[in-house]
Symmetry: C2
Subunit: 248 residues, 2 copies
DNA sequence: AAACAGCGGTTCAAATAGTGAACCAAATGG
DNA sequence: CCATTTGGTTCACTATTTGAACCGCTGTTT
């Protein structure tokens, strides 16, 4: 791997649940020598992509990332353009709706509008969702190029519940359904008792950049409701795609 | 410079005003060979820190940055903790107040609360402010270690208006005033007709992490007003510092 | 209190990864 | 339509990266 790749993979070790990590730990997890890890960290720190807590000497992500992210968001305002549509979809369906962007082989939850109902599905911003096992993921795969799909399906897939689809055939069927109808459907594929409808959001090149998903308690959804949610999801996703590509 | 440093300096070429740049341009500005620049861009793209617009083939900052920035912001919630204090300070003074974080030798504007008055100072989120020439910058320097200050003052300093302080002696005096009183004052140092009061916000190690600044039309400020604003700015900055370090 | 284990950090010869001049083909633009 | 510039590629050369062994320090265990 390139030196730059190694440096970035150090950054990717930090998560919401573990935002500060020590040198030895960092090196171990990245599969690097301590000396190498340190040199890379110093290079990153010189540009404020990494900061070191002076007391504990542990490392954390730096302010430069906030700065760069702001520049990007100003130019590619995925969340800003999508948020109103997501909100409206949530009001229309009465369910929790969330927006995800594809990043590094998975979907990253960027925005959530919670249902007003007492019995609702809760989703956290920042949560990372797998491509299989979530309605969002299936919708994303259905909109992706074939080579991307087959590359993803080759790897062994983790089962999150007893209902998670992990077999290539089952997944192919779900993807085919999503490709045909524009939306995907998943019952308890990622969490027990949760039903989801997903739809892909396309960028200016026609490739999917992310997804939106309507998440309901399973008890509230039958085939008729799912169909209606599917139509609404497709409409919302198309509207966001249009805004992204400057068509609206 | 390290390879990683070169890669990051490529990222830093993107700005709010120029969010997409072509390969040759990028290489030229970074002082790198085209082949080198491309290899670095590819390494960054593999981790989604860079994206390439397929149509124009130009490069832009990638979604991975948004993801990493979110992780950082969740852990080091500078803006989240400071925003309410900034808002209150704006209401109290009736003027525009903005929050900046130090990054890569300058102050990055992260949050703004605009004055309700018709005649007000407008500041953009994302704007990069120099350390000299702004009240924020002077306050930041006054709270920094001496070696940081002298390193900064060694370089030639740009004048933004006829009133910008660029001489080492003038700046030293302004810094001494800020160090003694806790706040800094600047008249038209960065923009004509704008008066600013700045105060530094300190992190858990006692080093400044950023600043807040009250910006008023020059016509509305005399010495008495400036003094009152200074006291208010210091109080607000201390409150944010305390929240950051978990003392409140 | 002594021995230990782990930490962050450093060194330098050996090895690997990075570099850039010269080269395309394709897209601009005068 | 020709000149220029673009994004992209190649490969011999070389400078950067690498990691085992080494500090000194801190906190824990015996």
């Amino acid at each position: 791997m390139s030196t730059v790749g190694k440096a970035v993979s150090l950054l990717e070790l930090f998560t919401l649940h573990e935002p500060e990590i020590g040198l030895s730990d960092l090196a171990r997890r990245a599969g690097l020598d301590k000396a190498t890890a340190r040199r890379l960290l110093m290079a990153l720190a010189a540009h404020r992509l990494i900061e070191q807590e002076p007391r504990s000497r542990r490392y954390r992500l730096g302010a430069g990332l906030s700065r760069l992210a702001r520049i990007r968001d100003a130019h590619f305002p995925f969340v800003r353009l999508a948020a109103p549509v997501i909100r409206e979809l949530s009001l229309e369906t009465g369910e929790t709706v969330h927006l995800s962007e594809f990043s590094a082989g998975a979907l990253l939850t960027l925005h959530v509008e919670l249902s007003a109902k007492a019995n609702r599905v809760n989703v956290d911003v920042g949560q990372v969702l797998p491509l299989h096992g979530t309605a969002s993921g299936i919708a994303f795969l259905a909109a992706s190029r074939l080579e991307v799909v087959s590359a993803y399906l080759e790897k062994p897939l983790q089962a999150f519940t007893a209902h998670t689809m992990t077999g290539p055939d089952t997944l192919a069927k779900a993807i085919a359904f999503a490709a045909a109808s524009g939306y995907s459907r998943s019952s308890e594929g990622y969490e027990e008792g949760v039903h989801s409808i997903g739809a892909a959001i396309l960028g200016s090149d026609g490739q999917p950049v992310g997804t939106l998903s309507i998440a309901s308690p399973l008890s509230r959804v039958d085939d008729a409701v799912a169909g209606a949610q599917g139509q609404a999801a497709v409409r919302a996703a198309r509207m966001i795609s249009a805004r992204l590509t400057g068509e609206a």
